[in-house]
């Protein structure tokens, strides 16, 4: 009998399967999620932040990985201030966007308008110990500049060079240097091929050529020896003898010796010359100060202003992290006072430079001078007043003055200041104010408006103040000071620059202002002495007006990029002429002798060798590079 199927609902049984409801899983999931949140919060509370971290930081930051506040500020993300604690400990602001804009354009207005870019926007952390934090996405460069290497503009130094060519706009002081002549001389002397002769002077120092120097490159035993050269006899009333120089007790490490001089019939001659001969430099500077006192004073004051700036930076080059709370508070107070003073100067400038503005303060001073002084001084005071009134009613030019206009205006202001000091020679307070004003005026350079400089200073002080406040708040939170700061290089650079400026200043001693300007005959005579004094220099390599031109040895031509010769020399098999074809005919030092960006594009880009911006350019100008 076949089996019958069962229809209908079967009998009730206790063996039902009761599957779990979906809500159970949801509850379990949410419970586990909640538990995890609670655990992570607990870890955070007890200082274990690793589970919350977005990933390991680079090895350089590993020692501070567990202390989030070293980089992060609560509610504020990664703060630039925290980066600066270690990377810009002295507040030089060389890592700011403004510094980049200034370095690229040389325009302080642009630097002020550059705004602030977060360090972390380019340097992305938490991507592992080996992540190259210094290498950034090329798209950042394209955001402001150009996106393809094909669109790379010509090098600025070539764009701004003379029409005939390839000449650096700035005078190097070595105008008479001839590559062509040296090629022939070396070829003849060493009997070598022209291509190989480059390496007779240009020597490798590491991966690039060492900067040329007279002592190492030119003044070797078989080339330019100065020992047998002598100056013409020069009148002792125009130049100073060694003993007279020593008697002045001018600071400086003088290398001349008495036996190197012959003094006969009121004339002195130096019989043994050195490169950068300090006796010639000293006397040339002295004659320069008499021939063109205004230019001399200005050159000197520019150096004084530069030195003052560098010394201020040096004095501040103490990491904030190294200060205790009391000194931090003191610095905060000092900065607040400085800011107040800058604000006052900015406010005063607001009204002072406006056409038809109130000159009441100047008028009061002027009237006082007119009242106490007599005769010529009173007349001069009236002239000053008339001049100021004329200035006040004139149109104030928009933006910065051109170089020539600035020089003219500066001379004018110096003249006014001279008048003030002459009118009240015994007024020490006035003298100090005039000196301070003179330094400020001297520190102005073409393209920079004084307002721009003031605003730049204000921005810098403000940023420093923010850093001090942040450091104080960090101390309050119990965050320890940064253990290591990257300051040593900066300190060394500042020290080197200050020493260099001081050395240049030493060569320009302060001379008393001449009682009366030189007449034409005296001027001509003195110019003749200067020419005779520097004849050896100008007959050889240097331009005649030695005293007015500072020689910058091995000056960089591509200031906003890095270029290393060795890989390029290797690629061209030592044929320097491939990139410098015109050098065999070059007769002037300022000729640039290199082809433009087109020659770079022969190899770089378009499927060839890499053309990443960062292979040549750097965003942050290091203190040693600009």
């Amino acid at each position: 009998m076949p089996r019958l199927p069962h229809w209908g609902t079967p009998d009730r049984t206790k063996h039902y399967v009761i599957p779990r409801r979906t809500g159970f899983y949801v509850t379990v999931g949410l419970f586990v999620g909640g538990l995890l949140v609670a655990l992570l919060l607990l870890f955070h509370k007890i200082g274990v932040n690793e589970p919350l971290s977005a990933g390991p930081v680079t090895s350089a930051h590993a020692p501070i990985e567990a202390q989030c506040q070293q980089c992060h500020s609560l509610g504020g993300g990664v703060s630039n201030l925290r980066c600066q604690r270690c990377h810009d400990p002295s507040g030089a602001s060389t890592l700011s966007t403004g510094a980049h804009a200034l370095y690229v354009s040389g325009n302080v207005e642009r630097a002020l308008e550059a705004g602030e870019l977060a360090c972390a926007a380019c340097h992305v952390e938490h991507r592992g110990r080996d992540h190259p934090l210094g290498t950034i996405d090329e798209a950042y460069c394209g955001g402001c500049h150009f996106r393809s290497f094909d669109a790379h503009p010509e090098f600025q130094v070539l764009r701004t060079s003379g029409p005939e060519g390839r000449r650096a706009p700035e005078v190097t002081g070595l105008a008479r240097f001839s590559h062509a002549g040296h090629f022939d001389a070396v070829k003849k002397k060493r009997n070598i091929e022209r291509e190989a002769s480059c390496f007779e002077c240009h020597e490798y120092d590491g991966s690039d050529f060492a900067p040329l120097s007279f002592e190492r490159t030119c003044g070797t035993e078989s080339c330019h020896v100065l020992g047998n050269d002598a100056t013409e006899p020069l009148p002792l009333d125009a130049v100073m003898s060694p003993s007279a120089i020593r008697a002045l007790a001018v600071a400086g490490d003088w290398s001349f010796r008495d036996e190197e001089f012959t003094i006969e019939l009121g004339a002195i001659s130096k019989t043994r010359l050195r490169h950068e001969d300090d006796w010639i430099s000293f006397n040339a500077a002295r004659i320069h100060s008499r021939l063109d006192p205004a230019h001399y004073v200005r050159s000197r004051e520019e150096l004084v202003a530069e030195l003052r700036q560098l010394r201020r930076q040096q004095s501040l080059a103490t990491p904030l992290a190294g200060l205790d709370e009391g000194r931090l508070r003191a610095r905060q107070i000092a900065l607040e006072a400085e800011l107040k003073a800058i604000d006052a100067r900015l406010a005063a400038q607001e009204t002072a430079i406006a056409p038809g503005s109130d000159l009441s303060l100047v008028n009061v001073i002027n009237e006082a001078l007119a009242a106490v002084a007599e005769g010529d001084t009173r007349a001069e005071a009236q002239d000053i007043r008339a001049h100021l009134n004329q200035r006040a009613s004139a149109n104030v030019p928009e933006g910065a003055l051109s170089g020539e206009e600035l020089e003219a205006r500066r001379d004018e202001i110096h003249g006014l200041l001279d008048s003030l000091t002459e009118a009240a020679p015994d007024d020490a307070a006035l003298g100090n104010d005039v000196d301070a004003l003179r330094t400020r005026v001297s520190s102005l350079v073409p393209g920079f408006s004084s307002r721009g400089l003031l605003e730049s200073s204000r921005a810098q002080r403000l940023s420093e103040l923010e850093r001090v406040r942040d450091e104080i708040s960090l101390r309050a939170e119990g965050v320890p000071p940064a253990a290591n700061t990257l300051l040593l290089g900066q300190q060394r650079s500042l020290k080197r620059r200050a020493e260099g400026t001081l050395a240049r200043l030493t060569k320009l001693p302060e001379w008393p202002t001449p009682a009366a300007p030189l007449d034409d005959d005296a001027r001509q005579e003195l110019q003749g002495v200067l020419d005779a004094l520097t004849a050896t220099c100008s007959n050889a390599c240097h331009v005649p007006l030695l005293a007015k031109v500072s020689v910058e040895a091995a000056a960089r031509k591509l200031r906003r990029s890095t270029f290393v010769h060795s890989p390029h020399v290797l690629q061209t098999d030592g044929d320097c002429l491939r990139c410098h074809p015109s050098i065999v005919e070059s007769k002037m030092a300022e000729e640039l002798n290199f082809e433009g960006i087109a020659s770079c594009m022969e190899c770089h880009g378009a499927g060839g060798i890499g053309d990443a911006c960062q292979s040549c350019h750097f965003y942050h100008p290091s203190s040693g590079k600009w």
Binding site: M1, P2, R3, H6, P10, D11, R12, T13, H15, Y16, V17, I18, P19, R20, T22, G23, Y25, V26, V28, G29, L30, F31, V32, G33, G34, L35, L36, V37, L40, E50, P51, L52, S53, A54, G55, P56, C68, H72, L74, G75, G77, V78, A121, C122, V124, H126, R127, G128, I136, D137, A139, Y140, G142, G143
Partner: protein, 273 residues
């Protein structure tokens, strides 16, 4: 039913829209990364982070769809469609938010892995929901409520034992040796997921061979026993597949809860730091 048919979308328009949106989002990411370097916590990267977080929050509303159905999306089917397709867009947004880079850090890896896991298990669930009912309807004759499977099995076992009780010793021995144990409980197998009749022919072959050795008067009895055993095998398949259909959520839902917890931590860390 082929797996291709099981993968066919219920509403092709939604699949097409999801594909278009995903491609558009990736294209937007590619274009913007030409102009701005990609950052998870800045600009477009942050926007995609917000989008992903918002979509995750929406996805988590699914268990409460019944309460919300009257206000949004009207039907459960619409909710499921939104849950599935927006889930896919969420994962795409997560990848874009991360800039298509491998994450770093325990939290980053956990978030990424859980996002991928939750989405994949969700899609697995969609496939199972489409595949299993079709496979059960097409490949089995027995239709049964999951909850009642043990009860019906009890009944089948009683029926089989009653049938064997009055039979020859040979048939009794065969039943005791080959069928009694398996008739005692439901035997689940993953094999049913791909073939609902998996192992059936091999199991019934023993009954067919046995029918050659029993007395002709017992042939019908063996046939009945084979029918009962076939039903039992189909109950096994029903039980296995319906269990999978109900339990796959253990892969999906707790992970989703964990993901939401970590997402809260992730957002909190971003806000605070």
């Amino acid at each position: 039913m082929s797996s291709g048919i099981a993968l066919a979308p219920k509403v092709p328009r939604n699949l097409k829209a999801t594909a278009i949106v995903s491609v558009a989002l990736v294209a937007a990411c590619a274009v913007s990364s030409l102009f701005f370097p990609w950052h998870a916590n800045r600009g477009p990267g942050l926007v995609f982070g917000f989008l992903a977080a918002f979509l995750f929050a929406f996805e988590m509303l699914y268990p409460w769809r019944r309460r919300l159905a009257s206000r949004f999306l009207n039907t459960a089917r619409n909710w499921l469609q939104a849950h599935v397709y927006l889930g896919v867009i969420t994962l795409v947004s997560v990848f874009i938010h991360a800039g298509f880079r491998w994450p770093t850090g325990a939290l980053g890896w956990s978030l990424m892995m859980l996002s991928v896991w939750t989405t994949l298990t969700g899609l697995l669930g969609v496939w199972l929901q489409k595949w299993i009912p079709s496979a059960l309807a097409d490949g089995l004759t027995v239709e049964v409520l999951y909850e009642r499977i043990p009860a019906i099995l009890d009944k089948l076992r009683t029926e089989a034992e009653t049938l064997v009780e009055n039979s020859s010793d040979r048939l009794k021995r065969f039943y005791d040796r080959e069928a009694r144990q398996s008739m005692g409980s439901v035997s689940g197998s993953w094999g049913y997921l791909f073939n609902v009749a998996a192992g059936r022919e091999r199991a019934l072959e023993k009954f067919r061979r046995m029918s050659q050795f029993v007395d002709p008067s017992e042939q019908d009895r063996v046939e009945d026993l084979m029918t009962i055993y076939t039903e039992k095998l189909e109950l096994d398949a029903q039980y296995s597949l319906q269990s999978i259909l109900r339990r796959w959520q253990v892969l999906h839902v707790p992970a989703a809860g964990l993901l939401i917890g970590l997402l809260v931590v992730h957002i909190a860390v971003w806000i605070v730091y």
